[in-house]
Each structure stands twice: as C-alpha cells, then as structure tokens.
Amino acid sequence: MRPPAPSLFDAPLGDVKTVAEGSIGVVGMPTDWTHSSRIGAREGPDALRKATTEISRGVVDSLGGTAVDPSDGSYWRFNVSASVVDCGDAPIDPASVERTTESIAAMTESISARGAIPLALGGDHYNSFPACLGYARGLAKRHPDRRFGYIQIDGHLDFADRLGAWGTHNHATNGRRISELPNIERANMVWIGITGWVDGDELALIEAMGGKIFSSGDVHKLGAAEVARQAVQHATRGCENLYLSIDIDAMDAGFLPGTGSIVPSGITPRQYCQILDVIAQEQIDGLDIAEVAPSLDPSGRTERIAAHLLYRVLRNRIFSPAMPGDP
C-alpha cells in the first residue's frame, strides 16, 4: 500500500521518533516568505515528493524493483523502506520567522539526536538555517565535543548579515547564520557554484575565517568532480561530520528556471550530478535541498531535475546491491 499523498521516493511515513539510527528522516519546509523576490518554493516539498515517486515507481512498477546501473552493469534493488522515513512537513507559522525556525529545527534536531540523518526539503534557502540548526543541536547532544564541516552548492553566497526589510533571517543570510552555530567548523565551510558578483565584505569575511569558494567558473575550469573532491577535502579537515546544503539555483537558469533567484552559471545538470556523486561518497550527517519553485516552471522539469539530484545523493542508501534474478 502506498500512502495517499506522495512521500519522498515512496518512503514509508512516520514520526520523527520512528527514524532509526543511520537512516534518513525527511522533513518538509513548505515556506517561502523569507525569500525576497520570486516566491513559489513553498510548493517545493510537495513537488519533490511527487517527482521522486516518478523515479521510484519507475523502478518498482516497470522494473520489478531491481535496476541495472548501465555504467558498470551492476544490479541494484530499490530498498527505500529500509533507509528512509518521510516525517511530513514541519508546522509553518507565516507570521513568525522565529516560530517557523524553531518548528523546523525541533524536527531535524530530534532526527539528528537519534543518530539519523535529517533531510530537509525547502522552501526557500533561508530554511536551510533552521534545518542545520536542528542538526547541529542534535549532533551536540550525541557528540558534544564534535564539530562539523559544511558544503553549500549555490549560485549565491547567502552570507549577508541582513537584507533590507527582510532583516537578519532570510534567504540571503542562511550561510551567515549557519556560520554562527557553536559547533560548526567555520574554516571548513565551502561554497560551490557561486556566480557573478558577490559582496566584497562577505567574500573577505569568508576568506578570513578560512572558508573556501569555488565559483561556477572554477567548475568549468577545474571540472565538476575535481571541484567536489577539493571541496570535500576542505570541508572534512579534522571533522567527522558533514552537512550538505543543496540550492538548486547553482544550476544554469536555462536548464532549471523554476527557482526564485536564477543565475547564468552555465552549470549543467550533468556537472551538478558529478559534484553530488563525489560528495555522496562521504558520510553526510545532514542535508537540505532548497529553492524548488514549481509554479515558476510550468514545464515541470525543475522539480524533475531536482528529484534526480536527490537521487544522486541518496542512491547508495535507497538502493542495495542485488544479483540477477533476485525477486
């Protein structure tokens, strides 16, 4: 039986308390009022759930649950129920950033504190902060002495201290607020895909704290996989724990226009996947994906590409090795 509403990759629904250690707990963050221009990312969690079921049902319904990876001929069995629980959406209070922040953080904290991996579905990118806030609190409960590294794939730094009327908590400040968390290793913060002009003071601050930035130009010049390899190396120096924030707008707007703040990065879906393939080899303890705004892309390809990005990050978890002829 499938749930009446789509869950991420058709994962079973459950409370955060049902997420087992080592598995993934999904939290939706359907809010975009902390975005300063084109809204629509509030529909992101639902769109991602629907689009990921196109992948999972394709494997289950068409292929009987077992698929062959054409790159190496290996067999894989779809096994999402063993590794993922969709915990639904966090309660959102559109009148209060504070209450929304604590609501999301409470869920990701609960998942993280159990030794599981919170996967938060945005929402605009501000919501990466409450998702990471809860993750950091949960990590502190499990390992008070540990610090975590951080990789943000994004067209923008999101490192402003404040943004006009939007104040200190919005989609331009999430990276800055995350850098202020007590157990993050600020020198291990890495950005990939930054495009165009950035604020000089923000850049100076990041460089002063030891953070690293790979522009979209770096991705084209060095290669996507090499950039990801260097990013992982920087983010995991002396850290056992890693948080990954995926803003889909690092991809070129021509491929992926259904997002609030588009950029002409030139980064292709293939390059984005190559970046994620490298990072997915690491032990990611918490992650989020943000800025999927389906109403800005009537073609529907934005959420489909975003779903595929999630698949690339999670495929080693939602699939398990199989043999030809396995049921």
Binding site: G164, G167, V198, D201, S216, P257
Partner: protein, 335 residues
C-alpha cells in the same frame, strides 16, 4: 530584535535602469552614458510584445544596481576575484526615460526616435537605446547620420535574405518597409558595407548578398568565429570602425544568444552565442567610442523557457559588460 524592520530599497522608488540617476536630454554631456527607452514594435508582426522590453529590462536591472544599493559593500567578480569600482556609475550612467511613442502613427514614431537620438547626439553623449523591435535601428542611426559617415556593428538580428541589394542604390525599387534595417541602410547608401560588421545573425542571408557584402568590404562572422575571436581583436576592429567614420552604432539583438539559453527572442533560431561569449563581445566593443547601442528583439511577453524571464537577466548581465567597458571600469588593450 524583529527579523524584518527596514524598508526594501531595491524595489522602491522611480524605476530607472539599474537605479541610475534620472536626467533630461538637455542636461547630457559627453561623459554620460544615457539609457533611452524606445517602446515600439513596428515591423515584426508575428509575436507582439517587444514594446514592453524597456520597462521589463529596467525592472530586471534593479537586481544589478549595486552602486545604488546601500545594502552592499562593493561587488567582486567571483571568477576573477577582482573588485569592481561602481562609483563612476553615479555620475555618468543616467536614464532619460522612454521616447513618448504611445498612440503615434508609424511615421510619427520614426520621426520621434530620429529627433530624440539626434538631440542626444548633439550633446555628444553615448546612448543605450532599449527597444523595441529592430525598427528602432534605422531612425536611431539616422539621428546621427547628418554628422557624417556611420559605422555599424550588428550582433544577432536579421540580415537581407535577397540578392542585388547593392544595385538598388541606382534606381531600383526601394527596399520594403519590413526589410531588415541593414538592408534599408545599405540600399540607399546611408551606410557603406565596408563600415559594417555583422556577428551571429540567426537569419539566412542570400548567397549573393553575402558575396556582394563581403566584396564591398563588409565583415560577416558566424557564431564559431565570434567564439574563437579574441576580445583584443574585437576591440581593435571596433576602434578601427569608429576611427574611419564619424559615429559608431551597435545593434544587440536578443537572437544573439543561443536559443537554448532563453526563449524570449522575437526571432529564435539555431546558432548563437553563450553568455560568456556575448559578454566578451560587448565588453570588447564597449572599449571603442560607440555612439549608441540598440537592444532589439527582446520580447518579455513570451514565456521563454518558463515564467522566469531568463532572457531578461541574460540581457542585463551582458549589457553590464558593455556599460563597464564604456565607462572605463574595465580595460582591454587593443594591439
């Protein structure tokens, strides 16, 4: 402290290009780069909407108005890791608004464009004319033509599809109203082919036209040649054109971009340039003393690739390269 407690300057106030200063034509001087809207669509016929481009481009440009936004410290080009000094924009980049074309007959509109661009030319200011379809090109150039010979660089946009264009100056039928602006300018000798450079036209010009055009000294570069060209060489060619004529004019059509990058071109076609290539071309041309750059063929009413108007952002991003070159904020040394 509440999380939202201040005005949002980016969205408020008078809508000018990149939040530049509003100015009158009479106040312009040689240091100015003036933005002028020409909201007209006279000869495209198929998909109306380019007349909305001046406002749409201005709306998109406010996202790029770093120099006018106290929110930010100073911009840095993240690829080059180089700071960009935008302070010159305050004094030199100005917006003189739109030419009042609403409700005018075609001939009156053409006269209005010609008259205003002539007045700006008399002030010796450089202009960016936001079209509009390519019907703005001919009157905008006419406005400057009284002063002497004209150089013309066309990036994207239409080319003559028929032959014998060069014979028309000797008494044949005049080129039609809907003909590409270059055809009309060449046909009666207002512009000489040897003073023309065409880059990346998505239309298919007639073989005889290409032959006659090139024999007469015109330069025609396809997308591959433009992509391979060095910025220094483009600057050199543009400067040579400017030196050999009294004024140099540039048409930058939305079709210069690859159609896979956006769908807002009035005449999408295969071929075209990537954004970095367009930036290279406009940045290099901006080093030359260009009298006017005309943005044509951008139709904001087309959904493009989605409801997000990627074509507008691409256009403004590309225009920045030109503006920075024109204002001397970036420098390319022509050999």
């Amino acid at each position: 402290m509440p999380m939202r407690d201040a005005p949002l300057p980016r969205m408020a106030g008078d809508l000018t290009f990149m939040r530049s200063r509003r100015a009158s034509v009479e106040s312009l001087h040689a240091d100015n780069l003036a933005i002028l809207g020409a909201p007209i669509e006279d000869n495209i016929g198929r998909k109306a909407g380019t007349r909305f481009a001046p406002t749409a481009i201005r709306e998109t440009s406010v996202y790029f108005g770093w120099h006018a936004n106290p929110q930010f410290s100073h911009p840095v080009d993240i690829d080059k890791r180089s700071a960009i000094d935008t302070s010159a924009m305050h004094g030199r980049l100005v917006d003189v608004g739109d030419i009042p074309l609403e409700g005018l007959e075609a001939q009156s509109a053409v006269f209005a464009i010609r008259s205003l661009t002539r007045r700006i030319a008399e002030q010796n200011a450089s202009t960016i004319v936001l079209g509009g379809d390519d019907s703005i090109v001919e009157p905008a150039i006419d406005g400057a033509i009284d002063k002497g010979s004209v150089g013309f660089i066309q990036i994207g946009g239409r080319l003559p599809g028929h032959s014998s264009l060069f014979e028309r100056a000797s008494g044949a039928e005049p080129v039609g109203h809907d003909a590409p602006p270059l055809a009309r300018l060449l046909s009666d000798g207002r512009v000489e082919a040897r003073n023309v450079m065409v880059m990346v036209s998505p239309s298919r010009p007639g073989i005889e036209f290409v032959r006659d055009f090139q024999q007469a000294g015109g330069v025609l570069l396809n997308a591959a040649a433009v992509a391979e060209a060095r910025a220094e060489d483009i600057t050199k060619n543009a400067c040579t054109l400017a030196r050999s004529t009294r004024s140099l004019h540039v048409q930058f059509d939305a079709s210069a971009f690859r159609p896979s990058l956006h769908g807002m071109s009035e005449r999408p076609a295969f071929g075209g340039l990537t954004l970095p290539d367009v930036q290279k071309v406009l940045g290099a041309i901006g080093q030359a003393p260009v009298s006017s750059l005309m943005v044509t063929g951008l139709n904001p009413t087309l959904s493009g690739l989605s409801v997000v108007k990627t074509g507008l952002r691409l256009t403004v991003t590309a225009l920045l390269s030109y503006i920075y070159g024109r204002l001397g904020l970036t420098t390319i040394q022509a050999e």
